[in-house]
């Protein structure tokens, strides 16, 4: 009897020791979720009156995750309730999305971080996608990123026009990286091939795990072209291991004012871009969506938040629920068409 009582004591004190060390840090933390109940503002039920789970369907540290964390930080302070980022990676973003949209309750206390690859590109890449636009209510778009075409730093092409010309003549020599046939890069390349009239089917796709895997391959000369957002390419660009030939879109990226757009170099119609926002399962009450719209609209004008986005080279780009939904649907239609033409849809 006595012996194990002693041991319980032992375990408790051991745990307590671990706890105390952790506590040294824990206490220093400003009580983000101070107990002030949501101020009774509108006639609608007080929201949020407890912790909100903000599901990021990717691992920590990626673009979607960083934006979500910055947003969660801001919203926790704004609402006086903790908004907690929960990473549920896997299955190219579908596992977390299924959790947030189909398994969780639609009471507004589970939000999903969405981006272009687990929404419109997912629908375009598969005939029976696990998650569709009909499963969710797009609440607000937060930011966007420009697409950039990167090649090895000492590659022979001096600009995008020359590169496009070469690809048109030698499509069989082009290797490009992507996370899969329906990945972000694949759509960027397919659209570009369309625009310059090169034969997409002759080029070769090298499947990689993502930007941190594909850029070293381009820098080492194992693949020719990588297509990613400006922020993802930045470290290798600064290391002078790769160079960016062009960015897509109507105007130059604010982060790379010296790099011309594809359009300036005579390649028109490149529209693929990266965006991220927040969505809720269908049937979520309207007052929740309104509250988020309102808060995100305010957030993208907050200097501290904008600075955080700038640091990760993401441009703030707010859209309310109606416009966001419309944009995503339009984009989905366009990608489905693009994918079908290239028989990328399976």
């Amino acid at each position: 009897m006595k012996a194990y009582v002693k041991w319980i004591g032992g375990i408790v004190s051991c745990l307590a020791a671990a706890a105390v060390t952790a506590c040294g840090v824990g206490v220093a933390q400003p009580a983000a979720g101070s107990e002030t109940q949501a101020s009774a503002s509108q006639a609608a039920p007080a929201y949020p009156d407890r912790q909100i789970e903000y599901v990021v369907p990717y691992s920590a540290g990626g673009g979607v995750d960083l934006v979500a964390r910055a947003a969660a930080d801001y919203l926790s302070k704004e609402w006086g309730q903790p908004v907690v980022v929960v990473n549920k990676p896997g299955g190219g973003g579908t596992v977390g999305a299924q959790y947030a949209l189909k398994q969780a309750k639609n009471d507004g206390y589970t939000a999903l971080a969405v981006n272009v690859s687990n929404t419109s590109m997912l629908s375009a890449g598969m005939k029976q996608p696990l998650i569709t636009n009909a499963d969710q209510i797009y609440a607000a778009r937060i930011g966007k990123g420009t697409l950039a075409f990167a090649v090895k730093a000492d590659a022979p092409w001096k600009d995008f026009a020359e590169f496009s010309q070469w690809v048109k003549q030698h499509p069989e020599q082009l290797t490009w990286t992507s996370v899969g046939p329906a990945g972000f890069s694949a759509f960027g390349v397919a659209e570009w091939m369309d625009a310059i009239g090169a034969d997409f089917s002759k080029t070769r796709m090298i499947v990689t795990k993502g930007a941190s895997d594909s850029l070293p391959k381009v820098a080492g000369g194992h693949a020719i072209l990588a297509v990613h957002t400006v922020g993802e390419i930045n470290p290798m660009l600064q290391a002078k291991k790769v160079k960016i030939l062009a960015v897509s879109g109507d105007e130059r990226s604010p982060f790379l004012p010296d790099v011309p757009t594809a359009e300036e170099q005579g390649v028109k119609g490149l529209t693929v871009f990266w965006w991220t926002g927040v969505s809720f399962p269908k049937g979520t009450p309207v007052y929740v969506i309104n509250k988020w719209e309102e808060a995100v609209a305010k957030m993208v004008n907050d200097p501290a938040f904008v600075k955080k986005l700038h640091d990760m080279q993401v441009e703030p780009d707010y859209a309310d629920s109606a416009r966001f939904t419309q944009d995503v649907q339009k984009e989905t239609g366009y990608y489905v068409e693009l994918a079908e033409k290239r028989s990328m849809r399976k």
Partner: protein, 505 residues
Amino acid sequence: MDTLHLLLAGFAQAITPENLLMAALGALVGTFVGVLPGLGPTSAISILLPVTAVLEPTQGIIMLAGIYYGAMYGGSTTAILLNIPGEISSVPTCLDGYPLAKKGKGGPALGISAIASFAAGILGVVGLVCFAPILADQALKFGPPEYFALMILALTLMVSLSGGSLIKAFLMGAFGYTLSLVGLGPSSGMPRFDYGIPLLDGGFDMISIIIGLFAIAEVLKGIGEKRLATVIGAPGNVYPSKSDWKKSAAPTIRGGLVGFFLGLLPGCSAAITSFLAYDLEKKVSKHPEQFGKGAIEGVAAPEAANNATSSAGFIPLFSLGIPSSPPLAILLAGFMIYGLTPGPVLFEQHPAFVWTVIASMFVGNAMLLVLNLPLVWVWVKLTKVPYGIMAPVILMFCTIGAYSVRNSLFDVAVAFAFGGLGYLFYTYRWPVVPLVLCFILGPLLEESFIQTMVMSSGDVAIVLQRPISLVILLAAAALMLVSLALNRRTQKRVREERQRGADVA
């Protein structure tokens, strides 16, 4: 010269009382969490990441680095004392560490592991200081064919890790590969082996499989044997004897070198290098049959490789922004959350910050040694807790460990299921180590194969045409022959030992 100057400035920063405190706190907290059975470095960093987010960047990163090293060390402690690795990289440590603990030499094993880790950690950090930019460039020369050849080389390890039956070892390896295939196919993006269950699309997480096969299976074994204490046998003296020192000096250096150079390659994680170091040691040893039964060299080499890889991993991380292992990926997330993008820009724009962090790695490593050698007896005491209390506590920690990696209950269920399976494997002598090895190699092998074939438009000969990959392949062939010869020689001995009921698998 400039580097040295910066490093000294870094040291001046690192030993300010505040930063010193952060390093100590990080190392301590990391060790505490890492030492909890079932919680390894990946879980520890992902759990503690949000906690450090309230600090200012320099202190936060110093603390994270401390946590990283501490958790690595803590993971080895449970691997040696309880046969519960917190991370795949600690699996080779179990192979000899646990038999040593059972023999009552747990103390020296822990001591050697701390010293080997320290020595290799310092070696790694020195390498980081001297060669970071040059080595990062060399690492880029490794393309898909080279990785493919490297995976073939790693595949030959299966023979020497087989324990008893080669057939069973290869079958388990095939099972491991198959498990790693579940999820989205790399080249098509279509789900494989999911049989219409969306949960399987995310694949299996390696941490939950490790926790199941080792930690939970170990608890079940204990229950099956109606164990009373957590470890049988007295722990013995913490400080290694002279002969232990002598035996482990060379393995530490060899392990450190293997770990450091392979650790430079992005994607070559500590899991792979520690296995390779263990295998190398077994091959150069005069008594290969001792391995798996408590050879102190078998603890020193993988521990050294493990820690050297962890330090070397900072080179691609700092200079190119590429994480080479799961814990480093989470550490990278930490950098990003602070708004610091690793890469050469970091060296140029925030030199003070980078060198402070590097200097604090020295400090952290030293701190770990100072903290851990005296603390070893605490861990050893812990193993005297009655099994009836320890077992449920371990199971609860395992649950948290499996859950926290992806915040998924599915992973917890997988861990429990593999616990049951692991017990069956143990009972019927199917070796689990090949399964684990193939589970980590699987995705890399497949990806590099597909990439190689695309690069060469479907011609396998490319692997033979490139010098680096050719050399690796030749080395693989040579190793295979040596392994087979060694295997035959030890087979007989192993069978004899098995009759006495030693844990070979």
